[in-house]
């Protein structure tokens, strides 16, 4: 089966932590050290990031010679992945948009991939929409997978969660992504937005979730978009088009009736009581455009696909259950069987 987290051929892996101690401490130094001819070198360049609230960004990705086999990728190091909740406390790989910057990632390079990071918009940039990702200027076949954007700001500046713009005739893929709380300006606070000068580019939103965006969840100004298995809940509007834009929907929901596990804690995994999204999706494991079979938590989706970035599974953690059992007495003292569920002692 196919994971949505694709890898490059012959990966050369470097490490990143803005706190130091790894190969790189700034995104720009890695980008400019690796904008080489990767095709001739027959090598892909990967930056594996460590957990932290990284005040970094303004990254302008351009200039490497790439192909569908050899490209550049940013992803968490093993064990540093988020848990499907957009934490902004440094516990996962987070990039926080600085006070005066417009974007965290401006991607102007084909086949670039970003996987499983959390982005937080906190910008007073006033020259247009500030955003987390900006797939831009003829960049094509860019893949953003498992990424979550959250806006905790209220500075009255225009914000967009995930932006796709001006990609020429090239497609862009957003898979298992989530945006929430883009509320700073009612007229422009949009979760997933795409703009292009013409109507040709295809933007693919597969199994994405947008919640609490003041203006719209998914919006297209000209490009042709396919939204499959997407949730729009509690947004100003749901699937919006203007110009020549179009959004073709397949098993999406905007009924505002999805039950999440714990909205108050930004946990938009599906609750066990949900019936709107649970089992209502389309199986995309054989999709002709972008086939995959996993969810935001790397969990393999079953035959009954759910709508949104999460595939429901029973949630067990140390706070919700207690399986600690007295097993036996040893030397007159109770001993316990400590069982592990989801990696937690319970």
């Amino acid at each position: 089966m196919a994971s949505s987290r694709k890898t490059g051929t012959s990966e050369n892996v470097s490490t990143y932590d803005s706190a130091g101690g790894k190969d790189y401490s700034a995104l720009t130094t890695w980008e400019q050290a690796t904008d080489n001819d990767l095709v001739t070198a027959t090598q892909s360049e990967v930056l594996e990031c460590y957990a932290g609230a990284h005040a970094d960004g303004n990254l302008y990705v351009t200039g490497a010679t790439i192909s569908s086999s050899y490209m550049r990728i940013i992803r968490p190091a093993s064990g540093e992945e988020h848990k499907g909740i957009p934490k902004t406390d440094g516990s996962c790989v987070e990039f926080h948009l600085s006070s005066t910057a417009q974007y965290i990632f401006a991607i102007v390079e084909n086949y670039f991939k970003v996987q499983d990071i959390v982005t937080k918009i906190n910008s007073s940039y006033n020259g247009g929409e500030s955003t987390t990702f900006n797939i831009w200027v003829n960049a094509g076949y860019v893949e953003v997978v498992g990424c979550m954007a959250i806006d905790s700001d209220s500075d009255n500046k225009p914000h967009v969660g995930h932006y796709t713009g001006d990609m020429g005739n090239n497609p862009a893929y957003w898979i298992n992504c989530m945006v929430m709380n883009i509320t700073s300006v009612t007229s422009t606070g949009t979760g997933f937005f795409t703009w292009a000068a013409d109507t040709d580019p295809d933007v693919y939103w597969y199994n994405c979730t947008a919640k609490d965006c003041a203006n719209a969840a998914f919006s297209s100004s000209n490009p042709q978009c396919l939204a499959k298995n997407c949730i729009s809940q509690d947004n100003g509007s749901d699937f919006v088009t203007d110009g020549g834009g179009a959004i073709t929907q397949t098993t999406c929901t905007s009924a505002d009736t999805v039950t999440f596990r714990n909205e108050g804690s930004d946990d938009l995994h599906l609750a066990n009581t949900d019936t709107t999204a649970n089992g209502q999706g389309t199986d995309l494991s054989g999709d002709a455009i972008f086939a995959f079979d996993d969810d935001i938590d790397f969990k393999v989706r079953t035959t009954d696909w759910d709508i949104g970035f999460d595939q429901y599974s029973p949630h067990l953690d140390a706070n919700s259950i207690n399986l600690r059992t007295t097993a036996a007495k040893k030397n007159g003292t109770d001993t316990e069987n400590i069982k592990k569920i989801n990696g937690n002692n319970v």
Partner: protein, 173 residues
């Protein structure tokens, strides 16, 4: 305030024009300012191997300076970095600067930095990430940090308007 600039030490060949980069992508050139971080900064292992770290004084707010130096590319197809350091002027300001060492890819040469601070995050990590002060060349007095005053006028070059700027002028004009 002091800041640390990561500077490219060698030219990198540009791409040929193709569909994605119709003008050919312009990659980093010797002297290009790649990154700025507050002082003291714990650079990564490959960063201190691949870039020259220059310490400079400035009164500009860090975020403003970072956004100006690292972005603001007015024509993304034609230029990668907006600002560069003039190495001839740098050599005048720091006569002991050894340009052969700066350009030698087999040496870690950081004459502005204090050796112990440069590697403090690496010592003790072990395995492939171990890096000790014995592996870096910080000049004759490896524990003496050097920095440049904010008043130097012919060091930082704006490639867009083709003028030299004092560091505090990159924001104010």
């Amino acid at each position: 305030m002091k800041y640390e600039l990561a500077i490219a030490v060698a030219d990198e060949q540009d791409t040929s024009p193709n569909d994605q980069y119709p003008n050919g992508a312009k990659r980093k050139k010797q002297g290009d300012i790649i990154s700025v971080r507050p002082h003291p900064w714990n650079w990564g292992r490959k960063e201190i191997d691949q870039y020259l770290i220059v310490i400079i004084n400035s009164d500009i707010d860090y975020e403003e300076l970072r956004v100006e130096l690292e972005t603001n590319r007015t024509n993304p197809e034609d230029i990668k970095n907006k600002y560069k350091i003039d190495f001839t002027e740098l050599k005048k300001l720091l006569p002991e600067l050894d340009m052969e060492k700066v350009e030698d890819k087999n040496k870690i040469y950081q004459p502005f930095k204090k050796a112990t601070q440069l590697v403090e995050k690496f010592d003790g990590i072990g395995a492939n990430h171990a890096l000790g002060t014995q592996f870096v060349d910080c000049g004759d007095d490896s524990e003496k940090e050097k920095d440049l005053p904010k008043t130097v006028s012919n060091l930082i070059y704006n490639k867009i308007d083709k003028n030299f700027k004092k560091i505090d002028e990159v924001i104010s004009g």
